[in-house]
């Protein structure tokens, strides 16, 4: 509690039960859900309208990157969560052990299990199958890794893991309506994961920073925003930085950033006059110990700068032709924007955990 100014006649309650691993987990949960949504939007909305090989390539790379990032993020997030627990192995028996369905930890765990299933199968379908054999694209790295394993293993003549996975993917992959239905259910699970990471916090009524009104909206914006950024960072790396797909996702991300910023400002205004614990959080985030993380990292570098950068680039793309002359500068600009959004998204969770202050007890 040393970073809180001890006011008179108030008894402050210790906090800090969650450390950086939980911040990482909350961040990766939102990012994972957002990356899956990005993948689905790219496959369902953008891909059917894509014209020309470059656009088709950018859409497909975005779909694949979204799914791959989704799988990686939820896996690493899960490990981060487990590593924080006192009894991680016991937690693995959650289907039996987690009996309190009124707890957001239990509801969230089931959302994660369901979501992990959908995002993994999506990545599998997008990476394997006859049509993907011999395809080009940086996002095929997982496929390439399996092929290297194939080479390294002393398999009998004619045997191949890649071929087996291709065969399986083609047998399991639904098409048309069924595929859309899978995407719809997966998207519900993704939104569930994103929103639950906020509700887990807002269910704690003695921490005013974890505000029930504002926080779910902040997370609902930040999850997809970081998801888009991670997936499109992949697309940019694959060479799709100047594609229409990238421009559209970047604009969608800007809209999310705008709503997130306004909501965060609303939260700060509410905190500034919300009683002693709220005011302590306000101070910690805007001028105290977490000023660098929140005011600089989240507000300035994670929201305002990427938004400004994106708007400038979008304006230039729309009204001039400099994009084609300075292609690599634009590609670098988009990559920078996405990296900033990702760093800001992590710092947001970090600041929300470490800036949390419990209502003190009054001793008049």
């Amino acid at each position: 509690m040393s970073d809180i100014a001890t006011g008179s006649d108030l008894l402050w309650i210790a906090r800090g039960h969650w450390e950086i691993f939980i911040a990482t987990y909350l961040f990766l949960g939102g990012l994972s859900g957002g990356a899956y949504l990005t993948s689905v939007v790219s496959s369902e909305l953008f891909r059917p309208r894509a014209r020309g090989p470059d656009e088709i390539f950018a859409c497909e790379e975005t779909s694949r990157w979204g799914a791959i990032v989704g799988v990686l993020a939820i896996a690493v997030g899960g490990v981060a969560l487990l590593s924080h627990l006192g009894a991680p192995l016991r937690a693995l028996t959650f289907p039996v052990l987690f009996s309190n369905f009124g707890s957001w930890l239990v509801i969230g765990t089931w959302f994660i299990v369901l979501f992990a299933l959908f995002v993994t199968i999506e990545a599998f379908w997008l990476l394997f199958g006859e049509e993907h054999a011999g395809s080009e694209g940086l996002s095929y790295v997982p496929r390439w890794i399996v092929a290297r394993i194939d080479d390294a293993l002393p398999l009998p003549e004619g045997w191949s893991i890649v071929a087996a996975l291709d065969w399986l993917a083609d047998r399991l992959r639904p098409t048309g309506r069924a595929r859309r239905a899978v995407h719809a259910v997966g998207s519900v699970a993704a939104v569930g994961v994103i929103v639950y990471t906020a509700l887990l916090l807002t269910d704690v009524s003695v921490v005013p920073l974890w505000d029930r009104q504002y926080l779910p909206i902040v997370f609902l914006m930040s999850g997809p925003s970081t998801g888009i950024s991670a997936a499109l960072l992949g697309t940019v790396a694959s060479g799709g930085g100047l594609s229409r797909t990238n421009h559209l996702f970047c604009l969608a991300d800007d809209a999310l950033i705008a709503v997130e910023t306004v909501t965060l400002v609303g939260l700060l205004v509410a905190l500034s006059s919300g009683g002693p614990a709220a005011e302590q959080s306000y101070e910690l985030l805007l001028s105290g110990a977490y000023f660098p993380h929140f005011a600089v990292g989240v507000l300035a570098l994670g929201l305002v700068v990427p938004f400004g950068l994106s708007m400038t680039m979008t304006g230039l793309v729309r009204f001039t032709d400099v994009e084609h002359r300075w292609g690599s500068a634009f590609t670098g600009g988009f990559a920078l924007k996405y990296v900033l959004v990702l760093a800001g998204g992590f710092l947001l969770r970090y600041a929300l955990l470490f800036g949390a202050v419990k209502q003190p007890l009054g001793v008049p």
Binding site: S8, D9, L10, L11, I13, A14, R15, H17, W18, H84, L85, G86, A87, P88, R90, A91, F94, L97, F98, S99, N100, G102, S103, W104, L105, V106, T109, L200, D203, V204, S205, V206, V207, P208, G274, G275, A356, K358, Q359, P360, L361, G362, V363, P364
Partner: protein, 209 residues
């Protein structure tokens, strides 16, 4: 539902000597240093010469609505119907720390094993004990109930524990009225200058907001 048990605390009589906290540590053999099932905090007000200090001895309040129980994923925490004592079954705890956040009083503690432990109103000795102990009412009828160590060792008679009805008989009217409006099982007396209204008020404030 059996008779509900709770604590009584009178800040006017508390000298801040920490005997209660030490007695608790000794009885339950809790980790040295960072695990405190009971702690004494001093709250100051004003500046010299108008300076006043109030000592507050705090432990689990065995809340009537137990927010810790509501968030616990595994059902390890139980608000017992039989005596109102909130217990923790450490065989079920995964050490997620969620109860630590949910508790308005900072009662849940996490020792070296990372699992939750806290006051069990001396249902039994040691971390996690008491989860399956017979009701305090039964223990008392059988003459086997442990007197809470903190109450036993309190030098100034500031702490007491027992069935809430009995505690209310000894409390001032103000304290009793305040207790009726709040949801913990701790009766805070306010016979003198010092009252710990916030211990009850904070719950009210968060629920209203």
């Amino acid at each position: 539902m059996g008779e509900q048990w709770g604590f009584y605390f009178d800040p006017d009589s508390c000298m801040g000597c920490n005997a209660c906290a030490i007695a608790c540590k000794n009885r339950h053999d809790t980790d040295a240093g960072h695990v405190d099932w009971r702690r004494v905090e001093t709250v100051s007000e004003g500046e010299f010469p108008d300076y006043e200090e109030t000592n507050v001895s705090l432990s689990c309040m065995h809340c009537e609505d137990a927010p810790c129980e509501e968030v616990c994923p595994t059902g390890a925490i139980e608000k017992r119907e039989s005596d109102g004592i909130v217990t923790i079954d450490r065989e079920k705890c995964i050490g997620c720390g969620y109860c630590g956040w949910a508790c308005p009083y900072g009662a849940p503690q996490y020792g070296d094993d990372g699992l939750m432990q806290k006051c069990n109103l001396c249902l039994d000795k040691g971390p996690g004990s008491g989860a399956d102990a017979p009701s305090k009412n039964e223990q008392q009828a059988d003459g086997e109930a442990l007197e809470p160590a903190c109450v036993d060792e309190c030098v100034g008679d500031a702490l007491d524990a027992g069935p809430v009805g009995e505690l209310l008989d000894k409390a001032s009217q103000e304290a009793a009225e305040r207790f009726e409006q709040n949801r913990t099982n701790v009766i805070i007396d306010s016979t003198g200058e010092n009252s710990v209204t916030g211990m009850q008020g904070v719950r009210q404030a968060t629920e209203d907001s």
